[in-house]
């Protein structure tokens, strides 16, 4: 995978250990790198409860964003009454700009299959489902090949390793709704119903798929399981911070030199990720903020760049771990616009079941639209803040509860930008078109007509060798004149 930058010195690959090194279409390649050894060990030497306990002791937490201890989840399902249990892998990766799970699914599908059989054994489930989004055709193809190979070799099916344990799984293709990454809506979708969340409790570990005890884990979580079994929980305990163990994969995107995936130990600082591994901001621009956790997270400013990354510390600074999207922004980014962008996404993806999310995100989006159009008032700022807080408190599922995060964190750290938009009708970053007013410096303009020729709305007056003038009411702020002028005569706000 070309996506994986090999800045090995700062990185530590556990989940991505085989990606790019093995042939994902050949099971023997995976076996050569100690594949299915952990499964053999689990099935021949350990009891289900021991496996769950081992994962619990390792300190592995859900990599999908919530950070719930994986071993504990497994124990709940194991202890839940009932002889029919299910294990579901959440491969519905929908954050904009995030592709951590895809690289595992495409580069190392067998590690997921192995971990799922282990998870099935540890939770008492004989059936598994991989819920994968249909937008990942290559991942689906490779997973299907891997499943066929594993079945043929007897890693899936009846009496695996002669232990008497049966496990099989199938792929369920999701239609790509963001809300289906939430476990209760995911289960609904697997059942063939509308992808809408249900209330918790009951938790899926008591009553999930078809009302049976169900465990839902993320791809990256599963990928960390075989190494834990092979190397022991103490090894995993030794990596990371006090509360968060192991490594996390991040997808670096936005205004950064090295775009791609990085896997670092918990406790690495954002500064190390962005400037050492990511190579800093292109074009010598200044760093402004980084958004972690995708549309559910918040912005992190320069001040907090030295925060060691783990679940708790990111929460403390108003963002969240999320699934690992990391969007870096330079100083030409308008924070109001960013909040609007993420809200546009969440209000579009809201399933519509609960009012606060369905209507709340829409109203917040409308207010932000108003502000970026230069029509915002003081009352809008107050309403936006109130609305954001009540949606956060009252939404039914994780999507709605976290949707206001981008608004709240940008309002917290970049209050002055909001105020600039509302009171001074100015966008300092220069990205809100309605608030831009272009003009021409009469001292620098030599009357070359270059800007005149590129203007799509013909709103620049002037003749050759005469100073040009922009008619502001017709200007659409397309920036074409600014780029065309060789004499820096066009003044951009």
């Amino acid at each position: 995978m070309e996506n994986v930058k090999s800045q090995e010195n700062k990185q530590y690959r556990i989940a991505l250990r085989n990606s790019g090194l093995i042939d994902p279409g050949d099971i023997s390649d995976y076996i050569a790198f100690r594949g299915y050894e952990a499964l053999g060990k689990v099935l021949t030497e350990m009891e289900p409860a021991e496996v769950a306990k081992m994962v619990k002791e390792s300190g592995l937490r859900g990599r999908g964003g919530g950070g719930f201890p994986t071993g504990l989840k497994w124990e709940f399902t194991l202890k839940a009454p009932g002889d029919e249990k299910y294990l579901i892998c959440n491969a519905d990766e929908g954050d904009p700009g995030a592709f951590m799970d895809r690289s595992i699914l495409e580069g190392d599908p067998h590690s997921l299959l192995e971990a799922m059989v282990i998870g099935g054994y540890a939770t008492g489930a004989n059936n598994g489902v991989i819920y994968i989004r249909a937008e990942y055709p290559l991942a689906i193809k490779r997973l299907q090949v891997a499943i066929d190979q594993a079945r043929e070799m007897g890693f899936l099916g009846k009496d695996i390793f002669g232990s008497g344990f049966d496990f099989d799984l199938y792929l369920k293709l999701g239609a790509g709704a963001f809300v289906c990454g939430e476990e209760t809506s995911l289960i609904q979708s697997v059942e063939g119903k509308r992808g809408e969340p249900t209330k918790k409790p009951p938790f899926p570990s008591e009553s999930g798929y078809m009302g049976k005890p169900t465990t839902v884990n993320n791809v990256e979580t599963f990928a960390a399981v075989p190494p834990i079994i092979l190397n022991g929980p103490e090894w995993f305990q030794g990596i990371g911070t006090e509360t968060s163990k192991g490594t996390k994969v991040f997808a670096l995107a936005g205004d950064i030199n090295n775009v791609g995936l990085v896997e670092v130990t918990m406790g690495t600082t954002l500064r190390e990720i962005i400037f050492d591994i990511g190579g800093g901001i292109p074009g010598g621009a200044k760093f402004k903020a980084v958004q972690t956790g995708g549309p559910s997270g918040g912005v992190i400013t320069e001040l907090d760049l030295d925060t060691p990354i783990d679940y708790e510390s990111l929460k403390n600074i108003g963002s969240m771990m999320g699934s690992g999207g990391m969007i870096v922004m330079d100083d030409s980014t308008c924070m109001v616009n960013i909040a609007k962008f993420f809200l546009e996404f969440t209000q579009d993806e809201s399933c519509g079941k609960c009012t606060s999310c369905r209507v709340g995100t829409m109203r917040m989006y409308e207010i932000l639209e108003k502000i970026t159009n230069g029509e915002g008032t003081e009352q809008d700022l107050i309403n936006l803040n109130d609305l954001a807080r009540s949606v956060k408190d009252t939404a039914l599922c994780g999507l709605g509860q976290t949707a206001p995060n981008p608004v709240l964190s940008t309002m917290n750290y970049y209050k002055h930008e909001y105020e600039d938009h509302v009171y001074n009708k100015k966008c300092t970053a220069g990205s809100c078109k309605a608030l831009l007013s272009y003009s021409i410096d009469p001292e620098k303009c030599i009357g070359c007509t270059a800007c005149l020729k590129v203007c799509p709305t013909n709103c620049i007056d002037g003749k050759a060798k005469e100073v040009h003038v922009i008619r502001e009411d017709e200007c659409i702020a397309c920036n074409a004149c600014f780029e065309a002028c060789k004499f820096d005569a066009v003044i951009k706000p």
Binding site: S28, D29, A32, F33, R34, Y36, G40
Partner: protein, 121 residues
Amino acid sequence: MKTFAELEAIRKKAQKDVRLRSGSGDVRVVVGMDNCGIEAGARQITIALMDEINKHNLQDVTVTQTECLGACRLEPMLELYEGEKKTTYVKLTPELARQIVTEHLVNGKTLKSQTIGVFER
């Protein structure tokens, strides 16, 4: 899959294959596998080479592929690197590929009749 021993056996064999593909062996057999090579049958050549090398249990030989070697009319062809020395074999068949392994790699005798010098002046 019934036992651990079975897995162990598969792994041993698989590791050998992986080493052959990515190893740091002293001798490299590089097969031209661009469209021209593949069309002329380079895939069969590579399979035959790997199979024959495995048969003789040669440890320090790596088989890799490269793109067009620049003489499509002589495909399938391969370059055999031994330190500083390079031998180019052209117009191969799977049988000839096996011969190259047994004669050149095992016995150390160049298969003169298939070298590029015979075909091109």
